[in-house]
């Protein structure tokens, strides 16, 4: 009995301090360094975009944003452990689409899409069809024509299965009524290497590939609403008559017991980094496309993406 009383008392005390701390925290938050977990290995695009955020956070808030890595299971290891971290606002984690929709839909990975408390989606790397500069495919129509005459013979590298590249490949094949062969590689770097080495005829890549490889590659179309500012000559799929907009989206999530105030605070922080002119320019130069989906718009955004991905995954036979 005695211990139970003590427990209750302690619980009440804790609740008070937590409540008090919550309101104080939001005001002078952050007052120590923040752990930014990337659920992939270093060097990938999730890492690079976090690295670009890092100095701006330090500049704006005077505290360090410490990036650490928790790779494994294509991100699943990190996301399944997200909610066991402290919800004090000092742990945030990178999140990716379509990963957090496709993974829990296809298998038991230790988390569900709704377990992940996204507070901001800040950019995406738009899907793009990339060919070597000396390829015979001058336009998207060339590729479609060739694929129509030679069903299955067009080999296209891409990063992994069930990924943005893979889903884009499935959706586009359906829209254009063609049949291509998708060859999964370990990450975008390997998929680009295969393209440059002429191991495949084309690549389902991202605009970042165009930014990095410059005049060694040609992008046939990008999956954006409007043309990418860094590539004014590359048409969008929409212009060419295919309603394909999307790519690999990246955002930030917090553990689920993070109080509302801090969720909102983080949404503001990421938003303010996103509106920094220098950051914007760095991201555009890298081939990224910025978007702003703050905390209150995240649910609607997720619903739309979920429907889109699950439909593509179903027709690919990844999800029943």
């Amino acid at each position: 009995m005695k211990t139970r009383h003590r427990l209750i008392a302690a619980g009440i005390a804790l609740a008070f301090t937590a409540g008090a701390a919550g309101s104080v925290q939001a005001q002078d938050f952050p007052n120590k360094s923040v752990d930014y977990v990337i659920p992939f290995g270093p060097g990938g695009e999730s890492d690079i975009s976090a690295r670009l955020q890092q100095p701006h956070f330090k500049e704006m808030y005077g505290e360090d944003l410490v990036i650490s890595y928790k790779p494994g299971g294509g991100g699943a290891v990190g996301w399944s452990q997200l909610n066991s971290s402290d919800g004090d606002g000092y742990t945030i984690m990178g999140i990716n689409l379509p990963h957090i929709v496709i993974q829990p839909a296809t298998k038991d990975v230790g988390y569900t899409t709704d377990d992940v408390t996204g507070i901001y989606w800040f950019h995406y790397t738009p899907d793009a069809i990339v060919v070597p500069a000396d390829s015979d495919f001058q336009s998207l129509q060339d590729l479609i024509d060739y694929a129509k005459e030679n069903p299955g013979k067009v080999t296209m590298s891409g990063s992994g299965k069930g990924t943005a590249n893979h889903l884009a490949s499935i959706r586009f094949d359906e829209m254009a009524d063609i049949n291509t062969t998708y060859v999964p590689f370990k990450g975008t770097g390997a998929a680009v290497t295969a393209l440059l080495g002429n191991q495949v005829m084309a690549e389902w890549g991202y605009t970042t590939v165009g930014a990095q490889q410059g005049d060694k590659v040609r992008m046939l179309a990008v999956a954006m609403e409007e043309r990418h500012p860094s590539f004014p000559d590359v048409p969008t799929f929409k212009e060419l008559g295919f309603d394909l907009v999307g790519g690999a989206y990246r955002g930030v999530a917090v553990p689920k017991d993070t109080p509302e105030e801090l969720r909102q605070k983080w949404s503001d922080i990421i938003g303010s980094i996103n509106s920094d002119e220098k950051f914007k320019q760095q991201m555009l130069d890298g081939g990224f496309a910025l978007i702003d989906v703050p905390y209150d718009e995240v649910p609607a955004f997720m619903e739309k993406r979920k429907a889109e991905y699950l439909k593509a995954a179903k027709s690919a036979g990844i999800v029943d």
Binding site: G160, V183, T193
Partner: protein, 500 residues
């Protein structure tokens, strides 16, 4: 022009960064679990405020030092400090066992310096043409390269091939656990959440190599390593003649290291293993690889340090990282606003050439730094009483396997694999074939699946697997490595029919 870049690399700040970087890298690399990749990743934020060339020199120096530092624990504790040093255990630890630990450390240092210089030399002189090598290697070449690596098992387990194959099969099976890298299938997790991330290579290395050593240390009353009665310092007077005797080995291994470093799908561990296999194949009579032959240490150490320069070739020229630490360096470059690509050498030549000269400098500084740190490490491991040595090493194994991806389950996997490895060793199944399976399994699998997919699409499977020149060369080397020991035994038997 040339002198200008050299002078820029030699500013007091850059020399200091190179020196500090190499020293820090050497120490980090010597701790199992703290890899070169991690060392570079941790330091990236510090470099944001520096000018690009200095930042790169610091990162390059840490990287170089860490790759060499992995040799210490490989030689003294039979545990590769980084995956690149796996091959160093084959002969380094037997050398240490016989009291030649300090000689092995010195030889490793000399080999690393030469390898590093050769890699940096190719980076300086032949980057653009050599970067094409990265592109010539397609899925099927990686598949055959992995098979070639697996053929090393035949050599490693001479006289007990069946056991070697059992070990390798176990390793291949372990490499399948978790979410498959390219097909995203979940395999062999038995419904357990903790297995989704698969078996992390570094924690497997620590478990399979280090835990059995620890168990044996506790179980036997002998000293860990044989101690000599007289201290003989660095034993440079012995090491330099050995290096001279092994000059062909050094050059061959350094070139292998450079080329494998250029291949984005391979890395330092594969480079060391391939160089070791080749050194063994070319062994002179009387050289007993696997039982304390300095040539084995030289081969792996010169090869793995040559991957530093080699790996930077595709990183700088193509924007495709050659090795995992290069991926981080590429990210750092991007943040610094440096555009990689073929035009980099012209447009931002001052940064690139200053960096390359800085890499030379760091590699040269590795000689004094490496020898000094190595001597200290050797003395510590040899003189530390068991009651202190075992707990401190055990502590390091736990920290190391946890740190690699901040995961407690990796520690549990490490300890379990260690126990399994110890039991298997009782039955004559060594750790190395298992590790070979774990490292090469995914490379072989991915290459096979991709080659099969492309081959089926183009309707030419046979041509895909057997019709490409590089593939054919690798297949020939594989057959050679596999059957050479058999052939040699035959010839020996025929020459001396009445020997026994």
């Amino acid at each position: 022009m040339l002198g200008e870049h050299l002078a820029q690399a030699l500013t007091p700040l850059n020399v200091l960064l190179a020196l500090g970087g190499v020293a820090a890298g050497t120490i980090i690399g010597s701790i199992p679990g703290l890899t070169a990749t991690m060392a570079v990743a941790v330091l990236v934020p510090l470099t944001f405020t520096m000018d690009p060339a200095s930042a790169l020199i610091l990162l390059g120096a840490i990287y170089t030092g860490a790759i060499y530092g992995g040799a210490y624990s490989a030689i003294l504790l039979n545990t590769p400090g980084t995956p690149s040093a796996i091959g160093t255990t084959f002969d380094g630890y037997p050398m240490a066992k016989c009291g030649d630990g300090n000689l092995a450390v010195t030889v490793a240092c000399l080999g690393s310096v030469v390898g590093g210089l050769v890699g940096a030399f190719f980076l300086l002189t032949l980057s653009p043409p050599l970067s094409e090598v990265a592109l010539a290697f397609g899925p099927v070449e990686y598949f055959w390269l992995a098979i070639f690596g697996l053929s090393l098992i035949a050599a490693l387990s001479e006289g007990a091939l069946a056991k070697g194959l059992m070990g390798a099969s176990l390793g291949l099976l372990l490499s399948c656990v978790g979410v498959a890298e390219i097909s995203a299938d979940v395999r062999l997790t038995f419904g357990s959440q903790t297995m989704i991330g698969g078996i992390e290579v570094v924690s497997a290395l620590i478990g399979l190599y280090c835990i059995p050593v620890l168990i044996d240390l506790v179980a036997t009353p002998d000293r860990h390593l044989k101690v000599e009665s007289e201290q003989r310092g660095f034993r440079l007077s012995e090491a330099i003649p050995i290096m001279w005797r092994e000059k062909i080995n050094v050059v061959r291994s350094s070139v292998i290291g450079t080329v494998v470093g250029i291949l984005p799908g391979a890395g330092g561990s594969v480079a060391g293993l391939v160089a070791y296999a080749e050194a063994r194949r070319a062994a002179r009579q009387g050289q007993k690889y696997g039982t304390g032959e300095p040539g084995g240490v030289i081969a792996t150490e010169s090869a793995n340090n040559a991957t530093v320069g080699g790996g930077l070739i595709p990183t700088l020229v193509l924007g495709i990282p050659g090795t995992p630490p290069d991926a981080i360096i590429l990210g750092a470059l991007l943040v610094q606003g440096v555009r990689t690509g073929p035009q980099l050498f012209e447009s931002q030549g001052s940064i690139v050439y200053t960096f390359i000269y800085g890499l030379f400098l760091a590699t040269l500084l590795m000689l004094p730094v490496g020898l000094l740190v190595g001597r200290y490490a050797y003395k510590t491991v040899v003189t530390l009483p068991k009651a202190l040595l075992v707990p401190s090493v055990a502590f390091m194994t736990i920290i190391g396997s946890y740190a690699i991806r901040n995961s407690v389950s990796d520690v549990i996997i490490m300890i379990s694999l260690g126990a399994v490895g110890w039991v298997l060793a009782r039955f004559g199944i060594a750790a190395s074939p298992i590790v070979l399976g774990i490292i090469l399994g995914p490379i072989a699998e991915q290459g096979f699946v991709q080659a099969w997919t492309i081959g089926s699409a183009t309707g030419d499977l046979a041509g895909m697997f057997f019709g490409r020149p590089i593939s054919l060369a690798i297949i020939l080397f594989t057959l050679f490595t596999l059957f050479l020991p058999l052939l040699q035994a035959r010839i020996r038997a025929r020459r001396m029919p009445n020997a026994e």
